[in-house]
Symmetry: C2
Subunit: 347 residues, 2 copies
């Protein structure tokens, strides 16, 4: 099968609202009246952003949701996408499954795939997504104000917990023993971009970002862009990770100093859970701020979208460099050693 | 150096016309009044689209021109770009040189880099480019009409000749002996997107495509999209390949049947040259059609842009399946065995 046949068979469709869709040198597209385009691109590389065990259908779904999560964080409505697919070989059944997952997600969001390319090389997928948003209503990172509340749109930590369990399965068991539920594995492999919530938050949220890297680093982005401090109550963060004690001091407890094996395992597990809550990525939930007067409205919006989100902190004036603090159950600042995901500082 | 520091240091700038540029979840952009966006994406993979010997500065330049060549083929004016950079490691001097080449090309076209991402993996670069074009004036592949003339904007074959010479250098010498000039190597490594010409051809050309793969396959795209036949005079194609006899019958001469070594080499070289003229890619010239009444105007436009282009053929009504024919100096159809580049059918 040639490149052209591959595109023709799996990635081309007629119709749509594009002035000119798939099949020329460029697609021709325009935002809706009074809107501008929000535009984002993301690359998923095998072994870095997904494991070889990820089913191709889930991979196709994932690349759409990962991109749309950025659109959601701007309050934009997804419209168009370009796909760049690099494959080591043409395995027709693999491509068919990938395309099924891709189209199911594109269709769910009403996105037209208007172009792209396929090439041979190490497996990697880049999707570029465009969405509509009225410019004055776009949700940026820079609008958080002292007094605002900090919200998250769903549960955190499960994707990181699932990834840790998958990696331990692959590499052989280690400490701490981590077993992820099927729900947690699915949350990791099939994240859901909070597109409808993002649109509903226009005019409600004062700032917004999606949690692709980790809660702390995303909160720091808002703090830095808005010039504010942010306090996060660790006990308030919704999570699907069961039976953890959030008040164990993060990475500060010297596990080696604990004599009892059971106690050592308990602390290691609690630290791992805290790491998943605060610093692992792949959650693709929205982290946003809103004035306290909007509290009930935000709670209603979350409920209307069937999301178990929660108010997890507060914005305050910064004394100097914008800072994110994590508070324990007694509102005492915790010692946090680890920041969010960075593609070049982690392996 | 972290991902964020890398982006901050090499790929971020302030200012520009974007509603919101680099640094949030998405960029916010809009086409100029009465325009739509032409949108394209291209991926360059190490070993497939460029050799390891390509200097990083030239690679940075190349990725911009390759994308803008698609905008040029639509008659669009480049505006915005997103960069997705996958690197095996952070080599600061490599990234600095790549960024220099990238910015020099972006600046030459007046493009704002409004976002993207960096990640770790096998070296690959995806650029997505957006340009402005009034929708009614966009140059598509489907407007060629019987009677139109076929034009090319520059010289063909040199990039293919240079690549063949570089590959022979890498793999050890073979037949035919190919030596490329410095000009030909530069044409291959540093293609120039014909952006100004593309804009000038609005309202003049009836159809247009850029030659990224090969003359024959691009001409076939126009023929198929327009529902016409196309005849190409091989002797009329401008080229920098010196001293070739274009009338040798393509791939049909049985070289093995020729007794004399000198004659065998001459034929092999001529066949290689024909292959470069007709079927190798990387030229990034514009291939377009225009009514014969526009002949002098097109010639003037090419001269005004200092391009050695030429009228190389004619469009005619198709008798059935749209067909591209190559004619020799006596206007006899030649036997052509090879089609354009396809990423999955060639190695």
């Amino acid at each position: 099968m040639t490149e052209f046949e591959l595109i023709e068979r799996f990635f081309k469709r007629g119709g749509g609202t594009a002035v000119l869709g798939n099949g020329d040198d460029c697609a021709l597209v325009a935002p809706s009246p009074d809107n501008v385009f929000a535009m984002t691109t993301d690359t998923l590389v095998l072994g870095r952003h997904f494991l070889p065990s990820l089913a191709p259908e889930r991979l196709g779904r994932r690349v759409v949701h990962v991109n749309c999560s950025d659109l959601a964080a701007m309050g934009a409505k997804p419209r168009y996408a370009l796909l760049s697919l690099t494959l080591p070989e043409i395995d027709t059944s693999w491509v068919a499954a990938f395309a099924r997952g891709l189209w199911s997600a594109l269709d769910a969001f009403g996105i037209e795939l208007v172009g792209g390319n396929t090439t041979r090389g190490p497996l990697a997928i880049t999707l570029t997504a465009l969405g509509d948003v009225p410019p004055a209503q776009a949700l940026t990172r820079s609008g958080a104000r002292a007094g605002d509340e900090l919200w998250v749109s769903g549960e955190l930590g499960d994707a990181g917990w699932a990834l840790a369990s998958l990696l331990r399965e692959r590499d052989g068991a280690g400490e701490p023993a981590i077993v992820a539920s099927a729900t947690q594995i699915e949350r990791y492999e099939c994240p859901t971009a909070r597109v409808a919530l993002g649109i509903a938050l226009r005019g409600v949220a004062s700032s917004c970002i999606d949690i692709s890297d980790g809660l702390l680093s995303e909160a720091q982005h808002i703090a830095s862009a808005s010039g504010v401090d942010i306090d996060i109550d660790i006990g308030a963060i919704p999570t699907g990770i069961a039976g953890i004690d959030r008040s164990d001091v993060w990475a500060a407890t010297a596990i080696d100093a604990v004599a009892c094996d059971g106690e050592r395992r308990r602390i290691a597990r609690a630290q791992m859970a805290q790491h998943c809550l605060l610093a692992t990525g792949d959650a693709y939930e929205l982290l946003f701020t809103a004035a306290p007067t909007r509290h009930d409205e935000v709670a209603r919006l979350l409920a209307a979208h069937a999301l178990p989100g929660a108010c997890i902190g507060r914005v305050s004036r910064t004394g100097g460099a914008p800072t994110v603090r994590v508070l324990d159950a007694q509102s005492r600042p915790m010692q946090i050693a680890i920041k969010g995901w960075d593609h070049f500082s982690h392996e």
